[in-house]
Each structure stands twice: as structure tokens, then as C-alpha cells.
């Protein structure tokens, strides 16, 4: 079993100067959600040069396409990523990663998610952009999957608690 190591994945993404925002379950964890996850959801900037950098980062992680059964090894580079319409599920040497090109919800793409994201320091020198809790909740409500129904009460209670502690 591969250890889930989102720190190393983010370290490599940062090292390759990839512009991205972390969303989904791990982002929710950083904000205080108690629901564990074993994949790193990332929305990358779709600019051509950024997808080239993302391709290099994924190659360093030995990323393969996650499907039912054995993962599929293929060349994942900028042009390949540019052709991805919505999501790409990956297996890497540091755990699973999901590239979300068009998240469900009101926010269209990377620019809008990034505008509302906050920066978080996971380790000294390892700073990442984390999606806003309101945006994660909105996206999960729109996605409307069974796993979203399970996590939404926790995220809504987390939002209430953060507001309560802030005296709102």
C-alpha cells in the first residue's frame, strides 16, 4: 500500500512552479474538517506553460492513470493534460491525486478558486493555496455524490463553528 503523502506531492508541484489550488477533502482537513481522505484534489491553472510544468511534476511523481484494476502508465505532459475535459484520477508514488479541471459549483475554474483561496504553510517553506471553505461546500453541494452527502454535515458544522469562534 502506498502511503498517502500530500506533503511530498505539494513539494514537487511547488518545486516545478505549478500554479494550483488544493480543494476537496484534504483542503477541508487543513481548514478543520475531521473527515479523513487519501487523495489530493488539485485544480491547476490551464495555461499552456503551467500544464507543461504540471506534466513535469507528475512525471517526477511517477503518475499513472487510475482506473478500475491496474493503473495505466502513459506519457502525461502538457498537451495530454490540455485535452482533459473534467477530471483526471492519478496514482503516484506518494498517493492518489485527482486533477479537477472543471469543479462542480458556481466557480468556473482555477482563476476564481485561486482568487478566494487562502495560503497555508504545511511545513516550514511549504506554502500552498487552499480553497475557501464556502467554495468547497458549494462544490460538494453541486456535485451531489453519495460521498459528498456524508461529508457535507461536517463541513457545514465546521463553518458554523468557525463563525461562532469568530463571534459572527
Amino acid at each position: 500500500m502506498t502511503e498517502f503523502d500530500p506533503f511530498e506531492m505539494c513539494r514537487i508541484l511547488n518545486d516545478e512552479n505549478v500554479d494550483y489550488v488544493v480543494l476537496g477533502g484534504f483542503a477541508a482537513n487543513l481548514l478543520g474538517s475531521p473527515i479523513t481522505t487519501r487523495d489530493l484534489d488539485v485544480i491547476p491553472d490551464r495555461a499552456e506553460d503551467n500544464l507543461d510544468r504540471l506534466g513535469r511534476a507528475l512525471t517526477r511523481m511517477n503518475a499513472k492513470i487510475r482506473i478500475a484494476g491496474e493503473p495505466v502508465a502513459t506519457k502525461i505532459d502538457g498537451p495530454f493534460l490540455a485535452n482533459m475535459p473534467n477530471t483526471l484520477n492519478l496514482v503516484t508514488d506518494h498517493g492518489d491525486m485527482v486533477l479537477v479541471f472543471s469543479p462542480a459549483g458556481q466557480l468556473a475554474g482555477y482563476e476564481q478558486w485561486n482568487q478566494r483561496a487562502e495560503f497555508a504553510e504545511l511545513e516550514p517553506g511549504l506554502v500552498i493555496a487552499v480553497a475557501a471553505l464556502d467554495d468547497i461546500i458549494d462544490s460538494k453541494q453541486a456535485a451531489n455524490r453519495a460521498k459528498d452527502h456524508l461529508s457535507l454535515p461536517y463541513l457545514e458544522s465546521l463553518r458554523d463553528e468557525i463563525r461562532r469562534q469568530a463571534g459572527e
Binding site: 484534504f26 481522505t37 487519501r38 461536517y154 469562534q165
Partner: protein, 56 residues
Amino acid sequence: MNQPHNPNEDARGVDVGQIRELLRMSVAERAHEMVRVANLMAKARETAQLGRTVKS
């Protein structure tokens, strides 16, 4: 029969005590703690699955 009421549970049935505990930590501490738990749970599931395979 009525279930015993958890005083930390809110109207959604969520244990807010767990959330408060996480909010007391720094972001880095939360990140490492949640990853540690996720890997631990996955390992436990894997061990249980192996046990079932060996028995059958």
C-alpha cells in the same frame, strides 16, 4: 429506544468536539494529524482484508 445523547453533538449529528479539537491546532499540525489517521485507517483496513483472505 432513545439513543444516549452526546453533549458534543450538534443538530446535524456532528461531533463538534472533534472539530473544536482540530481548530485548536495549527494548520500544519492538523495536516499531519489527519494524514497520520488516514494512513493508519487504510493500514487497518488492509490488515483486516488480508486476515479475511487468509481465513477463506
